[in-house]
Symmetry: C2
Amino acid sequence: MESNLEVAMRTLTRKGAATRQRILEGAAAHIRENGVVATTLDDVLARTATSKSQLFHYFPGGREELLLAVARFEADRVLEDQRPQLGDLTSWPAWRSWRDKVVDRYQRQGRLCPLNSVTSHLGNGTPGSQAVVTELMHRWQTEIATGVRHMQDTGEIDPGLDPDRAAAALLAGIQGGVLIQMSTGQTIHLEAALDMGIAHLRASRLPVA
Amino acid sequence: MESNLEVAMRTLTRKGAATRQRILEGAAAHIRENGVVATTLDDVLARTATSKSQLFHYFPGGREELLLAVARFEADRVLEDQRPQLGDLTSWPAWRSWRDKVVDRYQRQGRLCPLNSVTSHLGNGTPGSQAVVTELMHRWQTEIATGVRHMQDTGEIDPGLDPDRAAAALLAGIQGGVLIQMSTGQTIHLEAALDMGIAHLRASRLPVA
DNA sequence: CACAAAATGGACTGTCAAGTCCAAAGACGA
DNA sequence: TCGTCTTTGGACTTGACAGTCCATTTTGTG
């Protein structure tokens, strides 16, 4: 039905690039504050002091393309917000510190999860949406797994444990914890999931006694 | 702004009740197949062979009230679909059997999660939506915790472990696993999370050696 | 400077879907 | 059976919002 989203955009003036960015960030901000459903193109225009022709100039695919761009934008933030801890899971205190950062990040974020919001609006099956989420999850899981491997190298985690599977489980716990927090407002689940995940890693070092 | 959703509906003929139910189930089915975004009231009407006046007669709050009703409907299904295993977590094989059932259920369900879809459309903060999800999570977690306690009674799980917290972590893992499955299609995360959660319960029985 | 390409303003259109209304048909108790 | 309350049909209104179009201004370049 549509295939020429994400088209050429051959030349972009400095000014043009700035405008595009302004629209993108404005849209992201508005969505973060109001949710996708309550975000119309006109809202974005008003907020960013741009006109319709500009929006469609930089996002020829219209609303859908803009939403997808926002999804990418937010997906990047997710991992960045966990730096530098996420990239440095090299000791138990470091894991703890990362855990705290994650909890804190999502506590601040409150009830709206822009990424989930956007992708579930685009439809989870949409190729673009799926690609963004899949890549995010993959990168996230990889970084965790790297941390696990490092701890295995230093002998702090049982070498017999599958790092990728452990990372997958931990990641699932985080996602679920955040999801529950969105709906219920409680942050316990996220904390419990992280704690249990990490505890399990630690415990693995002490085999069946 | 609105407060009289879920109003009186004083008398309901047998016929009326049937119609109401037909609309509700038709809406749920359509949403399960197409997602909320792609579900208009007219779609539901066409599918259930009813007229607009009927829909607004039985759901005076219109779309919003209907969506909320669907959310409740789906929330009930979630736990029912885990019976009888969920209510009988009394041995390790039983836990395993439950795990398989959960994985199977969500594997069948595919990419659309009606409940998440609906609530995220209603807006996670909506009192009605929040109530439905919160209650579901609470009941779910309670049932898991009951299972944990039972295993503690029979000495198969360390009595020092907090059943509610363990259940919260496990629940988070499930939610996250499902969420990831929705977006990526992969079922590994759900399985890994369940397995790790249960493994952690089992491992607790063998204290620090 | 001059010209081509890019950026911008904003009115206009078309569609689509939620919700209203009233009149007609059917159910049910007295 | 009668009268009332419920149920139903479906046309109509209303509003909102995505997307189009063209005229105008600005920018960059040879």
